[in-house]
C-alpha cells in the first residue's frame, strides 16, 4: 500500500513519491541490469530495440505529447542523428563525442526550422513536418559524402572502455550502452517536467492565450521543446544506426515518422510512461504475431504468414480501439490497474468515468 501523507514540499518535488515508489523503480532497474543473464541473445536484441524506440518516442513525446505540437517528421531527426554519428565516426571521431554531436546537430537544425514551422498549428503543422520527412529521403541520397548516397553507410564498431562494442559481437555491452543513454535522457526529461520549462510546455499545450498572459514566451517555449525533442530523437537515430548496423535513405522513410507518432498515441500522449509502453508494443507486436502464427500453423494448420501486412493491420486496429476506448493509451490502462491494486478492495465502479468537461466557447487565440 502506498497511502501516505505528504509532509514536506519536497514530497511533491522529488522524482519518487517515497520509499515504495523508489523501490518499484529500483526493482525495475535491477531487472533491466540483469536482463543479459535473464534473456537469450535474440530477446536481448529485441529489448535493446525497445530501448532505442523508447528513446525516439521520448523525443516525440516532448513536442507532441507534452507541448501539443504534432510532428509527422521525426524520422528526419533520427536520420540526422544517425548520419551525423556515422559520418563523424568514419572520420575518426570517438563514439561519445560523435553521439553528442548527433544530439547537437539534430537539436540545432530543429531549433532553426522550428520558428517558421511552429507558427503553424493543427493540420498545417502536420503537413509541414510530413514534408520534412519526405525531404530528408532526398537529402540522404544527395549528400553522398556524409550519407553514402543510395548505398548508405555501415556502422563501425564502437571503441569504448578498452573494448569494441558491437551489437552482434558484444550484445550485452551494446545493450548497457543504450540503457545508460535512455536512463540519462529520461532523468533529464523528468527534471524538466518538474520545473518551470516543463510547466511552460504543458501551458502551451493546454491554452496558448493564458500561457502568454502568464508570462510564457510561447514561440520560445515551442522552439525549446522542439529543439530538445529533435536532440533526443537524434540520439535515438544514432543508437538505431548501430543497432541496424547500416543505414541508408530507406531507413528513415515517412512510415517511421508515422509509426513513432502512433507509438506515443498507443502508449499514452502526455505521459513519459507512454513512450515506453508504446515502444514495447511497436517492437514486440510483430514478434507476438509471429509466435501466434507459428502456433496456429502447428496446431490448426492456419497459415497466417500467407497474409502479408497482418501486423500493420493489427497495429492499426489496436490504435483504433485505443482512441475509442482509452484515449489516454496504455498508460491510462496501467494507471487504472495500479489504482485498482492500491485501493483493493475499496475500488468503486465508475471511478474512472470520464468527467464532464466544459466546452470552451469563443476561444481567443
Amino acid at each position: 500500500m502506498s497511502n501516505r501523507f505528504k509532509s514536506r514540499y519536497d514530497d511533491d518535488i522529488n522524482l519518487f513519491e517515497g520509499r515504495w515508489h523508489l523501490a518499484q523503480y529500483a526493482i525495475l532497474m535491477a531487472l533491466l541490469l540483469a536482463a543479459p543473464w535473464l534473456l537469450g541473445t535474440y530477446y536481448l536484441g529485441e529489448l535493446t530495440a525497445v530501448l532505442v524506440w523508447s528513446l525516439a518516442g521520448l523525443g516525440l513525446m516532448l513536442i507532441s505529447g507534452h507541448t501539443g505540437q504534432v510532428s509527422l517528421g521525426h524520422a528526419a531527426f533520427m536520420a540526422i542523428g544517425a548520419f551525423t554519428n556515422l559520418a563523424l565516426m568514419l572520420r575518426g571521431w570517438h563514439f561519445l563525442p560523435a553521439l553528442l554531436a548527433s544530439a547537437v546537430t539534430s537539436g540545432v537544425i530543429g531549433a532553426i526550422i522550428s520558428r517558421p514551422i511552429l507558427r503553424m498549428s493543427g493540420i498545417y503543422l502536420a503537413i509541414a513536418t510530413l514534408a520534412l520527412s519526405i525531404i530528408i529521403e532526398d537529402v540522404a541520397i544527395m549528400a553522398e559524402p556524409i550519407t553514402g548516397g543510395v548505398a548508405g553507410v555501415f556502422a563501425p564498431p564502437i571503441a569504448m572502455f578498452g573494448m569494441e562494442i558491437d551489437r552482434y559481437a558484444t550484445p550485452e555491452a551494446f545493450y548497457y550502452l543504450c540503457l545508460a543513454v535512455l536512463v540519462l535522457v529520461t532523468l533529464g526529461y523528468l527534471n524538466l517536467l518538474r520545473s518551470a520549462s516543463g510547466r511552460s510546455f504543458l501551458a502551451v499545450r493546454d491554452s496558448e492565450v493564458s500561457a502568454r498572459a502568464l508570462g510564457v514566451n510561447v514561440a520560445r517555449a515551442k522552439t525549446l521543446s522542439f529543439s530538445l525533442s529533435c536532440a533526443i530523437t537524434g540520439l535515438a537515430g544514432a543508437l538505431y544506426a548501430h543497432l541496424a548496423q547500416a543505414v541508408n535513405y530507406e531507413s528513415f522513410l515517412v512510415l517511421i515518422s508515422i509509426t513513432l507518432l502512433l507509438q506515443i498515441v498507443i502508449g499514452g500522449l502526455g505521459s513519459v510512461h507512454g513512450a515506453f509502453f508504446g515502444a514495447i508494443v511497436v517492437v514486440l507486436l510483430p514478434q507476438l504475431i509471429a509466435i501466434a502464427s507459428d502456433y496456429l500453423d502447428n496446431t490448426a494448420g492456419i497459415q497466417i504468414a500467407a497474409y502479408p501486412g497482418l501486423d500493420t493491420a493489427l497495429f492499426a486496429l489496436l490504435i483504433l480501439l485505443m482512441v475509442i476506448y482509452e484515449p489516454r493509451g496504455l498508460y491510462g490502462v496501467w494507471f487504472k490497474v495500479r489504482t485498482w491494486l492500491q485501493l483493493f478492495p475499496l475500488y468503486r465502479k465508475g471511478m474512472f468515468r470520464r468527467t464532464r468537461t466544459y466546452l470552451k466557447t469563443e476561444r481567443q487565440r
Binding site: Y9, D10, D12, I13, G188, N191, L192, R194, S195, A196, S197, G198, R199, S200, L202, A203, R205, D206, S207, V209, S210, A211, R212, A213, L214, G215, V216, N217, V218, L224, G270, T355, T357, Y358, K360, T361, E362, R363, Q364
Partner: protein, 256 residues
C-alpha cells in the same frame, strides 16, 4: 501617480470599432469596474491591456511605463495578472500545477539548470511552492490542491483561475466577469475575496462585471462603456442612474 493609464485606446475588427477612444486611469489600491451591455468592448479592453490584441491607436501606461508595444509575455512580469471570461485553465493539470505555472513570470532558473535539477532549481521550486501555498490558503483551495481541473465544478474553476493570477504576485489584477455563472452564495464569497484582495493584499483590481449588486458592493469607481465608447464614470450608483447608461442598456436589452 496612477497605476494604469489608458489613453484614447482604439481597435477595430474588420470595420467594427470594438473599442473607440476609451480613456481612464486606475489608481493604486482601488477597485475599478467596467460595465456595459454585451458586446460593448469590455473584454477587448482587457485583451488590449494584456497585449493579446494590437491596439489601432492610443496608449497604455502601467506604473509610468509605456506598455503599448510590449510583447504579451512581458506583461505578467511587470505585475499585471488576469482571468478570462471563458475560463482558460490548463485542464489536464492539477490545481497545484496550474498555480505553479502562474509563477512562470517569476522564474529564476534556466532550462539547462532545470535539466540537471541543480540545487538552485530545487530551492527555487520550494520558494514557488511556498508562495503558491499562501494563495491556496487565501482562497481556501486546499481540498482541491491535487485535483485535475477537468473534474472540478465551474465555481471552483473560477476561483482557481483567480488563484493562478494571484500566484504571479501582481500589482494589478484584471478580472473578467468573476461572478458570471456563480450561485448566489459563490458570488457572496467572490465579493469577500475581492475585498480581501484590495484590503489584505493591497492589490489594485480592474474588473468587468454584470452583477450590479456585486459591482456596487466592491467598486470604488465604475466606468460604463457601450459600443466601444465611454458613457459615464463615477460611483456605482451615479453610473446606474445616468440616463445615457440606462438608454444603452435598454437599447440592447442586456442583463443587469
Amino acid at each position: 501617480m496612477s497605476l494604469l493609464q489608458v489613453k484614447d485606446l482604439s481597435i477595430s475588427f474588420g470595420g467594427v470599432k470594438a473599442v473607440d477612444g476609451v480613456s481612464f486611469t486606475v489608481e493604486p489600491g482601488e477597485v475599478f469596474t467596467l460595465v456595459g451591455p454585451n458586446g460593448a468592448g469590455k473584454s477587448t479592453i482587457f485583451n488590449l491591456i494584456s497585449r493579446l490584441y494590437e491596439p489601432g491607436g492610443g496608449q497604455i501606461l502601467f506604473d509610468g511605463q509605456d506598455i503599448t508595444s510590449l510583447p504579451a509575455h512581458k506583461v505578467a512580469g511587470l505585475g499585471i495578472a488576469r482571468t478570462f471570461q471563458n475560463i482558460e485553465l490548463f485542464d489536464h493539470s492539477s490545481v497545484l500545477q496550474n498555480l505553479l505555472i502562474g509563477r512562470h513570470c517569476r522564474r529564476n532558473t534556466r532550462w539547462f539548470e532545470e535539466l540537471l535539477f541543480l540545487p538552485k532549481v530545487r530551492r527555487s521550486e520550494r520558494e514557488h511552492r511556498l508562495l503558491v501555498e499562501e494563495v491556496i490558503d487565501f482562497l481556501d483551495l486546499a481540498p482541491y490542491r491535487d485535483k485535475l481541473i477537468a473534474g472540478l465544478p465551474y465555481g471552483v474553476r473560477k476561483v482557481v483561475e483567480i488563484a493562478r493570477a494571484l500566484s504571479s504576485q501582481p500589482k494589478l489584477i484584471l478580472l473578467d466577469e468573476p461572478a458570471s455563472g456563480l450561485s448566489v452564495e459563490e458570488t457572496q464569497n467572490m465579493a469577500w475575496w475581492i475585498e480581501d484582495m484590495q484590503k489584505d493584499l493591497g492589490l489594485t483590481v480592474l474588473m468587468v462585471e454584470h452583477d450590479m449588486s456585486l459591482v456596487s458592493r466592491v467598486s470604488n469607481r465604475v466606468l460604463a462603456v457601450s459600443e466601444g465608447r465611454p458613457l459615464a464614470m463615477g460611483s456605482a450608483a451615479d453610473v446606474q442612474a445616468d440616463p445615457k447608461v440606462i438608454e444603452a442598456y435598454l437599447g440592447t436589452e442586456a442583463t443587469s
